[in-house]
């Protein structure tokens, strides 16, 4: 982040034409104005933002759009000066105010300077809402995200439709900051704590958004109207404000005391929260914090100049392109999985069978019944286990009902759909049977061979194995073509990824069924080949194996724990090991070592640590305080410690090597699929782009295989790219 002081400039003197050059195919959101009669013979100029498309292509704000808006604002300012209009209001096309900046254009920005122009143009254009000479209003009629909400923040007054589902400043989620006034205007409108919630907290909570009522409560909107007559009511309200009959109070606007006492303290708390939740690698949340902190005092012009510089830094940095790359994977590629067969081949599912009634199996049953709403039957070795499983599922349904997530009718419906049995004959009419039994090849083989006697010839069989060969699991089946791997991640209800494992014998109808089911479960599915660890576990095994190997050879826990800090991962290797369970972790390392003995480490120490039960010391609230003494003792004795730098290099190069091998072996078709798996299955950060953009930009790809995963690389224009693969920018 550049630390030079930002100096306000007169935006009217700026030449924005370099931005227009990169906006050749912008879908322009037009600024359409019609006059509306108000009381007392006054007139309101009503501006509609409309890109001429339906609601599936929301209004976006690109350079041409902003310049048109700016020109229209100039006309309206002139008309206000002549006394022809007495107010200006902005609203959107049906369901949409605006969804913010057009991010498809960001990757085409050729330099930091042009990136800065984009920030300045937003300020120049939207800022005119406060200098019209008459009151300005924004009627938030629908979706208002990022720059779309900043349109509203730049106006004098705001109304909101009570049915608006999504109002947010999601910039931080994407590696940006609210840079068209939001970082300054919002805290000064709604107070420091509310602003932090909207700008920093919500984006990091899986990009949470606000509803109309939320926006009213926070003070973003001055008043709210019901949808049926939202525009009519908003116009009438604006009429009242202009006529002086309506007074607007803003109880959340920060006063002197808030600025003196609360402001910096709130920033400090937010910073600590950020550091503990996401570490310090991601740049944009901290850039946002700095801007919000500075919004406490000074002029608007100064604040806008600070936003210009912060945005220019981020736009030209490496994290934003990686974040947008990640966003596109999650939003687009995840919705259209690579290699998915025709959906029409999928078998209809009228009943689901779950083999096993343990916790994992019960979680499957719950998810299937909630999403598919078909009968789900679970089975286990004895009635007691079955009863326990059904009771667990019924309890979870009750919890959903108690929380108001489902109605009592719906709860009754779901409860009635879940049954348990010890008689495999009850699986006869199941169309989809998934197992969640002990992770042992022989057990799984026998379970499927047994159930096959009872089920219909067209029923699909799915295994949730994480480490075994799916093809081997089907070795005793009469019809192995109906078997597919269906690998969930824990916790089943939360994690959005399923690795769908396509064996050499799996037929198209089975694969299609698995993909369609995954979508109905509202999960994102990636098709992988039947290779050890599939994608996520193989990548994690590489990383964890290196970490444990460093420990095993004498490197202190502390050194290993901090060695990968520059990744910005959600957890250190040892936290991750404890989360998945040390036993499971040791097993994962073993299976990978067995499959690829020359590339994956096994760790005897990890087995001993698993026996011991823990690695990390935690206080009563679960916060990590250090390393467990017993654990430290267990791993003592290594004689060839390495440095943090060496570990980082080994992990980066090791990952580049392994991922290259996976792609060469066609485990998945493209590096994008590896990254999608790591984003969704392991929660790896957007700013890394999953993993391959990171490996390219740190030079690991070049070191290991003399190339890059992406051409051009996914990185910012302001970075010093390695000479061998500088992306060509026109």
């Amino acid at each position: 982040m550049t630390s030079t002081t930002s100096t306000p400039i007169d935006y009217a003197t700026v030449d924005f034409s370099p931005l227009v050059v990169v906006s050749g195919d912008e879908v322009v959101t037009h600024s359409l104005v019609r006059d509306v009669p108000l009381s007392g013979g006054r007139t309101l100029a009503l501006l509609t933002l409309d890109n001429g498309r339906d609601h599936t292509r929301p209004n976006t704000l690109g350079p041409v759009t902003l310049l048109e808006f700016s020109a229209v604002m100039d006309e309206l300012t002139a008309r206000a000066g002549r006394g022809e209009i007495h107010g200006v209001a902005v609203t959107g096309k049906p369901f949409i105010l605006a969804a913010g900046a057009d991010l498809s254009k960001v990757s085409e920005i050729p330099s930091r300077e042009v990136g800065k122009l984009l920030a300045q143009l937003g300020h120049f254009s939207l800022g005119k809402l406060s200098t019209l000479g008459v009151p300005s209003f924004v009627f938030i009629n629908g979706l208002a995200l990022g720059g779309g909400l900043e349109v509203a923040l730049n106006a004098d007054y705001r109304t909101v439709d009570e049915s608006v589902p999504a109002i947010a400043l999601p910039e931080v989620f994407l590696g940006l900051i609210p840079g068209w006034g939001g970082s300054y205007l919002l805290p000064n409108l709604v107070g420091i704590e509310n602003a932090l919630k909207v700008i920093v907290e919500n984006p990091l909570k899986n990009n949470r958004t606000l509803t109309g009522p939320d926006a009213l409560k926070l003070g973003i909107a001055d008043t709210m109207f019901r949808s049926v007559t939202f525009l009519e009511d908003s116009i009438r309200w604006a009429d009242g404000v202009i006529a002086g009959n309506v007074t607007v109070s803003r109880p959340n606007a920060p006063g002197k005391i808030e600025r003196l006492v609360k402001w910096d303290a709130a920033i400090g708390i937010a910073r600590k929260m950020l550091e503990s939740r996401i570490g310090t690698v991601a740049a944009s949340p901290y850039a946002a914090l700095d801007l919000i902190k500075a919004a406490k005092s000074g002029t608007k012009a100064e604040a806008f100049a600070r936003e210009d510089d912060a945005l220019a830094d981020l736009i030209s940095g490496d994290q934003l392109p990686a974040s947008i790359y990640s966003f596109n994977l999650v939003q687009k590629r995840a919705k259209r999985p690579a290699g998915a067969p025709d959906k029409a081949l999928a078998r209809p599912i009228g009943k689901v069978g779950v083999i096993g009634a343990g916790l994992m199996a019960s979680q499957f049953a719950l998810l299937f019944v909630r999403r598919l709403k078909v009968p789900v039957v679970i089975t286990d070795l004895d009635q007691a286990r079955v009863d326990k499983g059904v009771a667990y599922i019924h309890g979870e349904i009750q919890t959903l009902q108690d929380k108001g997530r489902i109605s009592s009718d719906e709860a009754n419906r779901l409860r009635a759909l879940v049954t348990g049995t010890t008689d495999k004959a009850d699986f006869a009419d199941a169309d989809w049977v998934i197992e969640a039994v002990f992770e042992e090849l022989g057990v799984k083989q026998d379970v499927f061979a047994e159930i096959e006697k009872h089920i219909s010839p067209t029923a699909v069989l799915a295994t949730n194995t994480s480490s075994l060969s799916v093809e081997q699991i089907g070795a005793k089946l009469a019809h192995p073509e109906r078997l597919v791997g269906f690998h969930f991640f824990n916790p089943v209800a939360v994690m959005p990824l399923i690795e769908v494992v396509n064996t050499p014998t799996t037929d198209e109808a089975t694969l299609s069924t698995a993909m369609v089911i995954a979508a109905k479960l509202r999960k994102n599915a990636v098709i992988t080949r039947d290779t050890p660890g599939f994608v996520v576990n193989r990548v994690l095994a590489k990383l964890l194996g290196e970490a444990m190997h460093a420990v095993d050879t004498g490197t202190p826990f502390e050194v290993v724990n901090g060695a990968l800090a520059s990744f910005g991962l959600p957890m250190t290797p040892f936290e991750l090991l404890e989360l998945v369970g040390l036993k499971v972790g040791a097993h994962v390392l073993d299976t990978h070592h067995a499959a690829f003995p020359d590339r994956f480490f096994e760790s005897t120490n990890l087995h001993r640590l698993a026996e011991h039960g823990k690695i990390l010391d935690r206080n009563s609230s679960g916060k990590i305080t250090g390393f467990d003494k017993g654990a430290v003792k267990i791993v003592a004795g290594g004689t060839t410690p390495i440095t943090a730098e060496q570990i980082l290099r080994r992990v980066e190069d090791g990952l580049a090597d392994e991922i290259k091998r996976m792609l060469d072996d066609d485990v998945v078709h493209a590096p994008e699929d590896i990254d999608l798996c790591m984003l969704l299955g392991a929660g790896w950060p957007f700013q890394m782009g999953g993993i391959t953009p990171y490996l390219d930009r740190v030079g690991a790809s070049e070191r290991v295989f003399g190339g890059t995963f992406h051409t051009p690389m996914v990185r910012g224009v302001g970075s010093a790219a390695p000479a061998s693969s500088t992306p060509v920018l026109s």
């Binding site: 019609r34 009503l46 509609t48």
Partner: protein, 401 residues
């Protein structure tokens, strides 16, 4: 039910009426949205009426398909935010749809079944052109049950000119001109605007707000009218100038029992006296209001001379003239359509009945000397409808002056 319950007209509103078609202000506005906004506007004007006390919602439309289908009264009630406990239904009697909503709800109140009801209508003739999708039984023509002209409203109006040669085209045009002039004067005096609910409208030029009727042509001249084409016959008499146009609009009114109005402290604008519908030969459907009015007067025990104010739907000038002529009233009698009529304002078929009532209610307030007024209209396929109202502001002293 030994005694008849008193039925009162508490309040009525309407949307501004638009010109039908692509250039009209409601081209991008749904029909159901129009009537929903009329209902919300009505409820907002009467905040002391608890939504859950509404016993029924009757909404009329001639073409009950698409955005005018799906049991409009029920869907409109839900969309307007009335409680789910409030039922609703749809009504069709072509041009007299809203009038039939009122008489049906009024009858239910009079019988004692209901305390409060919403009645209204909507017609988006741009989205639902007249006659679209109809499938008349071939027997109508094969058995000569009706003449070929019966299904073409303009042709039925020409037939009235045929039947009464003394109703000349010039006389129709003069009537039409006065309608335009009276509407312009009423707007000028602010008589129309109070009962209009503004509607946000979307066009290629962005959002706007409809606050006035779109159809009136205050610049109309007799010469201009004389030169208009006669689309229904070569050298005919019916023109776009002496007939109502094709329009989009919606109306809604609140009816109550006398007891409920008193209980909730609602002001009463009119009291229902009697109503009647009657049939005539379909090919002269414009004559329908004559027998329906005679019937309604008879039921009320009144004579035409007791009626102090008339709100007649101007489907065609000649059809109003035939009514006035039958009852011996001058074409330019000041008691008739004081604010002008459908020739200028427009006639979105099934919505118009309540517009007549809104205007009569306003005139009642201005005319305490008048005790009774009537609203009447002709109806396609040869019908007429009449509702007789009593003025609650009636004052004997004023009447004597």
């Amino acid at each position: 039910m030994a005694e008849r319950t008193e039925v009162v007209f508490v309040d009525g509103v309407r949307t501004p009426f638009g010109r039908a078609g692509e250039k009209g202000m409601y081209w991008n506005t749904r029909a159901d949205d129009l009537v929903v906004k009329a209902i919300t506007g009505l409820m907002e004007r009467n905040p002391s009426v608890p939504g859950e006390r509404i016993d029924d919602v009757a909404i009329a439309a001639t073409t009950q398909a698409g955005d005018q289908g799906l049991t409009l009264g029920r869907t409109a009630a839900l969309l307007a935010g009335l409680p789910v406990t409030v039922p609703g239904f749809a009504i069709d009697r072509m041009c007299a749809g809203a009038m039939t909503s009122v008489t049906t709800m009024g009858a239910a109140i009079g019988f004692g079944a209901y305390d409060l009801a919403i009645a209204g209508g909507v017609e988006h003739m741009g989205r639902h052109p007249m006659g679209a999708g109809v499938d008349p039984n071939p027997r109508f023509l094969s058995e000569r049950l009706v003449s070929e002209d019966a299904l073409n409203m303009g042709a039925t109006a020409e037939r009235i000119h045929d039947r009464f040669p003394e109703y000349t085209k010039d006389r129709s045009d003069r009537y039409a001109l006065r309608s335009q002039q009276k509407v312009a004067a009423a707007y000028e005096a602010g008589k129309i605007q109070p009962d209009l609910v503004s509607i946000a409208t979307r066009s290629a030029a962005g959002w706007g707000l409809a606050t006035r009727d779109e159809a009136p042509r205050p610049e109309t001249t007799l010469e201009g009218l004389a030169g208009l084409k006669t689309p229904f016959r070569p050298h005919g008499r019916i023109t776009a100038g002496n007939a109502s146009g094709l329009n989009d609009g919606a109306t809604a009114c609140l009816l109550a029992s006398g007891g409920a109005a008193k209980e909730l402290g609602l002001s009463v604008k009119m009291k229902l006296v009697s109503f009647a519908f009657a049939g005539v030969e379909p090919e002269v459907m414009g004559l329908g209001p004559v027998p329906s009015t005679e019937k309604a007067l008879r039921k009320a025990g009144l004579s035409i001379t007791d009626i102090g104010l008339f709100e007649l739907n101007e489907a065609f000038a000649v059809q109003v003239i035939s009514f006035l002529d039958h009852f011996g009233i001058d074409d330019d009698d000041p008691r008739v359509n004081e604010y002008g009529g459908a020739i200028a304002i427009g006639h979105p078929l099934a919505s118009s009945g309540v517009r007549l009532m809104n205007q009569l209610a306003s005139q009642f307030a201005e005319h305490p000397e008048v005790r009774y007024g009537l609203t009447a209209m002709c109806i396609g396929l040869g019908q007429g409808g009449t509702v007789i109202w009593e003025n609650p502001h009636f004052n004997k002293k004023a009447a004597k002056r």
